[in-house]
């Protein structure tokens, strides 16, 4: 498992990279590993307004469905359409595979997210290892 230090992390297992007011959102390496073979990604529409903590889509493995929660408030500026045909890209490289890009209302929300080190600690506590 690897968690890039430039990303911020949500306890609901999304990563976020903030560049100016543009946030790029994906799921963590731990999330993809826990889910197993990802076979379906439900994406929002470009232009959709999303709020922090609200669901903006879902990721499905063969066995399970998992909602995606937005770590920030803003509007969706881009969705990664390639995931419709190749959802397993998330298994192959979760850190390099973005799901949506968001024009954020306030950069402050991202600041409350976990650092890579804190997220790793959180995952360790959650899994009891």
């Amino acid at each position: 498992m690897s968690y890039p230090e430039t990303y911020r992390y949500a306890k609901s297992h999304e990563w976020l990279l903030l560049e100016g007011d543009c946030a790029t959102v994906g799921i963590t390496d731990y999330a993809q590993s826990s889910l197993g073979d990802i076979v379906f990604v439900e994406l929002p529409k470009v232009g959709q307004e999303i709020e922090v903590g609200s669901t903006f889509g879902s990721v499905e493995s063969v066995k399970a469905v998992s909602d995606l929660y937005s770590p920030v408030t803003g509007s969706v500026t881009a969705v990664n359409d390639k995931l419709n045909d190749a959802p397993d890209t998330l298994n192959k490289s979760a850190n390099d595979t973005w799901i949506i890009k968001v024009s954020v209302k306030s950069a402050d929300e991202a600041k409350t997210m976990l650092s890579a080190a804190d997220y790793e600690k959180f995952v360790a506590e959650e899994t009891g290892h």
């Binding site: 609901s12 297992h13 999304e14 799921i27 963590t28 999330a31 826990s34 889910l35 197993g36 073979d37 076979v39 379906f40 879902s58 990721v59 499905e60 493995s61 063969v62 066995k63 399970a64 469905v65 998992s66 909602d67 995606l68 929660y69 419709n84 959650e126 899994t127 009891g128």
Partner: protein, 398 residues
């Protein structure tokens, strides 16, 4: 993302003799009917494909086994089970079910005729205690039949896939080629005498289930010898996740999903395994028969299990509601999943008879959104039959 971490286990889970072996493979474990079982090892899709294209190995020791012996055992089996056990020869097995008086399911089973007056009923893990109690209650008063719960005597290993025979043949003196589907024999396996070797399984693929002594060293040794024997074909350990998708592609019922104590035999589309007209007269009756005859006489069931294939994008899953074209709620999916080999999203669902014809377009509600699906014939997947074992006669060149 939520709900992807497992919560702490409440009660102590039961373990098979291969528990340590599974941890050695770094399997992901889950609570399955009170058992700590591997749900996947290297990955569900990879495991599923190994069984369809080569060979996979499963620990199915959580399955239960009830042995019925004695001069009256055939009468007891005939009273308990809906198929006609008098048709079985020694060394033969068949699919059957234990029913409640109202024609719904106690459990579905595989019945093996081990000898004259000696039968083995293989039952589901999650229903073990209920089943054994039911058997004792239903035939406890009969003389000349002795009921034994032999579940904990065996480690049951399934070797499944087109390369299962070649893999297992390296480890046994039994002539596997001569064992027909749903027949079994006893042979020496990995040096152990009198191992029950059955050409059965729950994957829709060719394969074997072997019953070996349930001690840990023996179980672990046989497991690793099977893995070594299958290495040239790319054998991998397979978990309950792949077992579920494999049986779903083959449209095999799972207790608690397609069959339960609220669904009857005809609804579950299992009438072909239910023999209402057994002869002679002494074998005619079984528990549940009267109710099923009444269903038959009233024109059959009102609803039936069908196969669905999703037309629109989306995966119909267990419990999702099913709608008629006019929007009326008509049923529910009992098992639904992506089908890794077929590369389609498939499901089994109960719908009223009027909507059971293949080609019928229905709606499935996926988390608030209605998407299209259509009724398709089952099984979704049928394995290619291998060429007959007789030599292939070709026309002479002239």
């Amino acid at each position: 993302m939520t709900d992807i971490t497992s919560t702490a286990t409440p009660a102590p889970l039961r373990r098979t003799a291969l528990h340590t072996t599974h941890h050695g493979h770094k399997a992901r474990m889950v609570d399955f009917g009170g058992w700590d079982m591997p749900v996947q090892y290297s990955g569900l899709i990879e495991e599923h494909m190994a069984v369809r294209t080569a060979v996979g190995i499963f620990d199915v020791s959580h399955m239960g086994d009830i042995q019925l012996r004695g001069p009256n055992s055939l009468n007891a089996v005939q009273k308990l089970l809906m198929n006609d056990a008098s048709k079985l020869q020694i060394g033969q097995a068949h699919y059957s079910a234990m029913l409640y008086p109202n024609g719904t399911f106690v459990d579905d089973v595989i019945l093996h005729k081990l000898g004259e007056n000696d039968y083995l009923i293989v039952i589901n893990a999650g229903t073990r205690e209920k089943d054994i109690q039911w058997v004792r209650k239903a035939i406890g008063s009969m003389s000349g039949v002795h009921v034994t719960d032999v579940s904990d005597y065996y480690t049951q290993i399934a070797i499944q896939g087109p390369k299962a025979e070649t893999t297992l043949q390296k480890l046994t003196n039994a002539d596997l080629k001569s064992i027909k589907n749903y027949w079994f024999t006893w042979g020496k396996v990995c040096g152990i005498h009198n191992v029950l070797i059955a050409r059965t399984g729950y994957t829709g693929e060719d394969g074997f289930e072997i019953y070996i002594p349930a001690d840990e060293p023996t179980s672990a040794r046989v497991w690793s010898e099977v893995l070594a024997a299958g290495a040239e074909f790319g054998i991998i350990p397979c978990g309950l996740g792949a077992r579920n998708t494999l049986r779903l592609e083959s449209a095999m019922a799972l207790y608690g999903h397609e069959i339960s104590d609220t669904l009857n035999v005809f609804e579950a589309n299992l009438g072909r395994y239910c023999k209402l007209g057994r002869e002679p007269e002494q074998f005619a009756d079984f528990i549940g028969r009267d109710a099923l005859l009444a269903v038959q006489q009233s024109g059959g069931p009102a609803k039936r299990l069908v196969g669905l294939e999703m037309i629109d994008r989306g995966i119909g899953r267990d419990g999702y509601p099913v709608f008629a074209p006019d929007g009326a709620l008509i049923g529910e999916i009992t098992s639904g999943s992506p089908a890794p080999f077929l590369k389609k999203n498939i499901a089994l669902a109960y719908v009223p008879i009027a909507y059971t014809a293949p080609g019928t377009e229905l709606g499935v509600e996926i988390r608030g959104q209605k998407v299209k699906a259509q009724v398709v014939p089952t099984p979704f997947y049928k394995r290619p039959r291998s060429a007959p074992s007789a030599p292939i006669v070709t026309a002479p060149l002239s």
